[in-house]
């Protein structure tokens, strides 16, 4: 009888399953002097917006792609790293943004207006996709959302009247008066990135982030604090979907031509790599992960299928050796636990330290 009456807690303890193996968000960064912070921020923004004037068009494309991926990965990280839910429809939501914005712009909607529109639309779709989260967690949620993602990508192929089907769709380029299309896209991407990361920082290191993490760690038990676990889990899906779609709209502008096969597994795996190699549950992680993925693709461009192997290896290394991703590299090296993990000699000691 005692087992039965406490069954609730035992079940919940087991249920955390694979989410537990993922990196957890780290604590809020220490508060630095305001002047220093402002100076760093201004420097960063100036550097971002000065870039088109100093680099060639190839490097500008690479920088732009990195920023687009960083925004999309931030959205994915909010779902996976912060709320601890493995939703695998992210590439499809990214596609909704790309197609939605391109089609709306072609039909006369002002381009800047298409960004919030696809954001809202994708948020609604993401919440629908997240509905299995009422009952499912971990592996089963991953499968359910993956299926939704495939349905969406297949739907894009099937609706060829609107989307051009498997043959693809040419993107009408938006440009600011007086400058080239690629520079316009870059400026817009940089602005969206700055705003998104600023807002994400405020929310994630504030009440929203701590409630989301509590939902993640307590599961349904969080109800005892008056928090609806379900609502927060669905909101995480919605926010993540909105950010994905806005990044997708920018991605379409960058690529100038989009087709459904761009948004299947070949994009989902890089997204996973970016989240985990960069470091789940941090703000810098998505940026580092995006830079890593883009650089990896550029280096291995000539090697064809080896790209996939490189992605696989990177993901394996990130999960086995560098659990916290690239953001934790400095700390790991400092604690010199990296060597210990590889040889297994210091693993036990590390575990004890963490437990205390």
């Amino acid at each position: 009888m005692s087992e039965l009456s406490t069954r609730l807690e035992v079940e919940l303890a087991d249920e955390r399953g694979i989410e537990r193996t993922l990196g957890t968000p780290r604590a809020a960064p220490p508060r630095r002097p305001l002047l220093l912070k402002a100076a760093a921020l201004v420097l960063l923004i100036v550097a971002l917006f000065a870039l088109p004037f100093v680099v060639n068009s190839y490097l500008l494309f690479v920088a732009n792609l990195t920023l687009v991926y960083a925004i999309a990965t931030l959205g994915f990280d909010i779902l996976v790293g912060w709320s601890g839910q493995i939703g695998l429809a992210h590439a499809a939501l990214f596609a909704i943004g790309a197609y939605g914005s391109t089609i709306a712009y072609a039909h006369g909607v002002p381009f800047l207006l298409t960004l919030p529109l696809v954001g809202i639309g994708a948020a609604l779709v993401a919440v629908l996709i997240g509905f299995p989260a009422i009952r499912l967690t971990g592996f089963f949620l991953a499968i359910a959302t993956l299926a939704f993602g495939f349905v969406i990508v297949e739907g894009l192929t099937a609706a060829d009247g609107l989307t051009g089907g498997g043959a693809g769709l040419s993107v009408q380029i938006w440009r600011l008066p007086g400058i080239t299309g690629s520079a316009s896209t870059y400026f817009l991407t940089a602005a969206v990135a700055v705003v998104t990361f600023f807002l994400a920082r405020r929310a994630l290191y504030g009440r929203f982030g701590r409630t989301l993490q509590t939902v993640r760690h307590l599961g349904p038990l969080v109800g005892s604090l008056g928090v609806s676990a379900l609502r927060y889990r669905l909101v995480a899906f919605g926010v993540s979907g909105a950010i994905a779609a806005i990044a997708g709209a920018l991605y379409a502008q960058l690529q100038t031509f989009i087709f459904p096969a761009m948004f299947d597994f070949n994009l989902l795996v890089p997204f996973l790599v970016m989240v985990f190699v960069g470091g789940a549950g941090s703000l810098l992680g998505p940026v580092l992960g995006a830079a890593f993925a883009v650089v990896l693709v550029e280096i291995f461009q000539d090697f064809g299928d080896y790209q996939a192997i490189a992605y696989g290896l990177a993901l394996m290394l990130a999960i086995t050796v560098l659990r916290g991703g690239l953001v934790s590299l400095g700390k790991e090296v400092r604690d010199s636990r990296l060597i210990g993990r590889l040889t297994g000699r210091r693993a036990e000691k590390g575990a004890v330290q963490r437990a205390q």
Binding site: M1, S2, L4, S5, T6, R7, L8, E9, A13, T24, P25, R26, A27, L199, R202, A203, G206, R207, F208, R210, T211, Q213, T214, R216, H217, L218, P220, L221, V222, G223, S224, L225, G226, V227, S228, A229, R354, Q356
Partner: protein
């Protein structure tokens, strides 16, 4: 042994007799002893039945709890945690009603129940290890945040003020539990005893009219138990809330709780003042040696 599963089964055929002889007169006596007739009890269970399959866990539990501390004790498997699960909405009873301050709340989901001012803690502390102690405690104030997440996102002054106010409350509360100086350390870096205290603080920041604590002192060292008792007593003195404590440490129960109810095989077999209850023959028999623990 009291945990012999045959005992309640054997009691079933002669249920009528059993009811008439023991629990009925106890229930009357218990209700009188536990709640002042004039005031509305903080929580009132009437005739709660819970069964998992054929396994009867709560068999007609009636209990009313007024403000201050109430101990809920009984041998393992008596249904104590199940009682808390029923009150906090995690279990829908097969029959019976739960009233909170006179309002019926039977079958409402946990977050709605908590929003009415019912907090609870669990046997194993569940904190977010990488968040600071004070951030963990702040989550308990959820229902007191009037401004939504959009206000926070766009940095409205009211949202900031509200956050500051709640943070001050959280720090105050941690102070009363003697953890104020380390409030900014990650919760995971605290020893398990302190983590349990942080969890209790989180539950109390809800400012509940009823706090349900499931073995808050289990696994705590003497120093931590003192902190817990000091903090809880201070909180009850300040807020006039009701606290239901499940605890195996009967010394702590008799030190803290003016009222005690004893659960045994899903029934309240005795309730009243700890001195009387803990020396009652029936209770001693249920515990087999509880008497010894108290007298020591």
């Amino acid at each position: 042994m009291p945990s012999d599963p045959q005992l309640p089964a054997a009691g079933v055929p002669e249920d009528g007799v059993h009811d008439a002889v023991v629990p009925d007169d106890v229930a009357v006596e218990g209700a009188g002893a536990l709640a002042e007739p004039a005031e509305t009890p903080a929580v009132e269970l009437s005739d709660i039945h819970v069964a998992f399959g054929g396994n009867v866990v709560l068999d007609g539990v009636s209990l009313s709890v007024g403000s201050g501390f109430t101990g809920l004790i009984g041998p393992n498997g008596a249904g104590k945690t199940t009682c808390l699960n029923v009150i906090s909405g995690y279990l829908r009873p097969g029959a019976g009603t739960v009233r909170l301050g006179g309002q019926e709340i039977t079958g409402r989901p946990p977050n709605r129940v908590a929003a009415l001012g019912v907090s609870r803690t669990f046997q194993a502390p569940r904190l977010v290890p990488n968040l600071s102690a004070v951030a963990n405690v702040l989550v308990g104030a959820h229902r007191h945040f009037r401004r939504g997440h959009f206000a926070e996102l766009f940095g409205s002054g009211q949202a900031r003020r509200q956050e500051r106010e709640q943070e001050a409350r959280a720090r105050d509360l941690l102070d009363t539990f003697g953890l104020g100086t380390n409030a900014d350390r990650p919760a995971g870096s605290f020893p398990i005893g302190s983590q349990k205290i942080i969890e209790v603080s989180r539950a109390l920041l809800n400012d509940p009219s009823l706090a349900l604590l499931d073995e808050p002192a289990a696994g705590l060292g003497a120093e931590d138990v003192d902190r817990l008792v000091t903090g809880l007593t201070a909180w009850v003195g300040r807020s006039d809330g009701a606290v239901v404590i499940i605890e195996h440490d009967l010394g702590l129960i008799s030190r803290l709780c003016p009222q005690v109810a004893v659960l045994h095989f899903g029934r309240i077999i005795r309730s009243g003042r700890p001195d009387d209850v803990l020396h009652d023959d029936l209770v001693v028999e249920a515990y087999l040696g509880a008497d010894f623990v108290v007298d020591r």
